[in-house]
Symmetry: C2
Subunit: 345 residues, 2 copies
């Protein structure tokens, strides 16, 4: 059995409280006593029981992180940057992978809420389905949404400007001379809707007609992008430039294009979004719209820590933080030879 406060107290012939105070650096303790306590604690290899502490203080020093797809380097990177903020603050992270399953997300979030001090959630729910979250937040749940926003929730959000993501991608294709531009849409989510909206706005801005048959739903996964593009090509009438909802979908589409004997970047231009890991090392390096995931994760973690400390109240109790996206031109869009391979770390 591990050492407890009582063991140390017994060893030194003092009360548990004195030990507790020494361990937690309370000001009102004799420096000499504290040294003696810490000495014994070290000798007995004492580690506080987190659960007992959590029970007494109502603070677990655990954060929950809920993501739709752990295999996507996008979320792995968010997780890492969140951890880089959480750890120095003494928090550990409980992760949960929902596999884009809304039901699973809700039940996991419920379970996590009781065990942690707060949650960062990249939701797989449709943006309008906010009843459950609304309830939880009203009951005091500390939740920060990341990446995917839900409509009208009084809750901090860290996201990018997805309309601008769609615009940047589409305008890039327009600037390369394309007049017929397709879009592979994500599943109904604010992210997908906004990128689609940006796509339409870019068309409108350049006086190009919007053609509904050029926008197809494919989800956010590689498999969806592959299937959608494969079918599109098989049907015979496909656009020569496509903005895909995100990088995995773009990569799937690229596979379908190559399988059909077409050349990405020459016969068909592709732009993705999200700067996947190794996107610059692909057979045809992927042009994409990206934003700093490090910033995004850090911002979310910092907001959550403030929320937990009740440092977010009053008017700005639910900040909305937007990380600006930028275009990264590589070869998949057919834009010259700009995207030289460079050393990365």
């Amino acid at each position: 059995m591990p050492t407890t406060l009582a063991d140390i107290a017994h060893e030194l012939g003092v009360s548990k409280m004195t030990i507790s105070r020494a361990i937690n650096n309370h000001p009102e303790i004799n420096a000499d006593t504290r040294h003696r306590v810490l000495e014994v604690a070290r000798r007995l290899n004492y580690r506080p029981n987190q659960h007992a502490r959590a029970l007494a203080t109502n603070r677990s020093y655990l954060l929950g992180m809920v993501v739709p797809d752990l295999m996507h380097s996008y979320y792995a990177e968010l997780l890492r940057s969140i951890e880089s903020v959480a750890r120095p603050a003494g928090f550990q992270i409980v992760v949960c992978n929902t596999e884009e399953d809304a039901g699973r997300e809700l039940s996991e979030v419920q379970a996590l809420l009781r065990g942690t001090d707060g949650l960062i959630v990249a939701s797989a729910l449709p943006p309008a389905e906010t009843k459950e979250y609304r309830k939880m937040i009203k009951e005091g749940a500390k939740i920060v949404l990341i990446d995917r926003e839900l409509a009208n929730l009084h809750c901090p959000v860290v996201t990018t400007d997805n309309i601008r993501v769609g615009m940047l991608a589409t305008e890039h294709l327009i600037s390369l001379g394309h007049r017929q531009i397709g879009h592979l849409r994500g599943k109904p989510s604010a992210v997908a809707a906004d990128r689609f909206e940006g796509y339409k706005q870019a068309l409108a801005k350049h006086a190009l007609p919007f053609n509904a048959s050029l926008a197809r739903e494919c989800g956010f996964l590689e498999s969806g992008g592959y299937e959608a593009m494969r079918d599109w090509i098989a049907e015979g009438c496909f656009p020569k430039a496509v903005f895909a909802a995100n990088d995995p979908a773009a990569i799937g589409a690229m596979q379908a294009i190559e399988e059909a004997g077409l050349r990405v970047g020459h016969d068909l231009a592709i732009v993705g979004a999200g700067k996947i890991h190794y996107g610059d090392m692909l057979r045809v390096p992927l042009t994409t719209v990206s934003w700093s995931l490090a910033e995004m994760g850090q911002a979310a973690a910092e907001v959550l820590l403030k929320l937990i400390d009740n440092k977010l109240s009053g008017p700005k109790s639910a900040p909305r933080i937007v990380i600006a996206p930028e275009l990264i031109v590589r070869q998949s869009s057919g834009a010259g030879k700009t995207g030289k391979t460079k050393a990365r770390r």
Copy 2:
């Protein structure tokens, strides 16, 4: 404040114990009472306090997962498969990223041990440095090592046959006619040592001399592979075939090769290990030695759950599970056009 057992007990005019029994499906409770309790529990949206439960039962239903590099899809995939076993068993996962830092690993492991029921660790420690782990395990810590083994630790391990990994990779290059084969080694770890050993055994088996100047240390990261290969090429005298310690290192090396104006798979053959995500979508698809990460993670999780349930005792208390590796031929090794792009999911 969230609902507690006492709230429900008060509401129904019975004791806390009855509620506890109803919630936990104890056999010795009246079916009718249980229904009434569950009804009220649902109405009040009761969720048990995990910390109180953990304190009382000494079971937290948390598992710790310690990895050296969250951004490597290898560990992300392990994490996902571990979760797929843990969740149905009612366990949540606390992750910790050590960034290959041994000191960080030790302190995190210590902290995690008190808060969780058991740990799965992909250690960044040198394989001989087992003093700390030895101590923890003697004190009853439930730890399963994954991917990276430590020497002579009485502790379950799930790994692959890394000697065979080295042999498969090297023999593949030999079979392609290479007689001068280089090796980019990982940092001192059992994994690196075994792959190196396999490399040497393959050479010996085919009566090729081992030349120490052809084996360079580069670590397990992309940056290390890049720098090592860049320097090697700059020096002028480099082998025409290289087995890299793992896929990220191989990809780094590939970058260096391309920057030098050489063609991967033609001027210089590269083989990696570990089947990184999108390895088949790279500019030159990467030949690699791989094994099932799903199997590996699941095995580790299952062993840990047994360990926690004390179902592992006696002679086989520390099983060693080996997941067999296999060669995946693509184009980076220059082996014809075998590695066709295929649809994946």
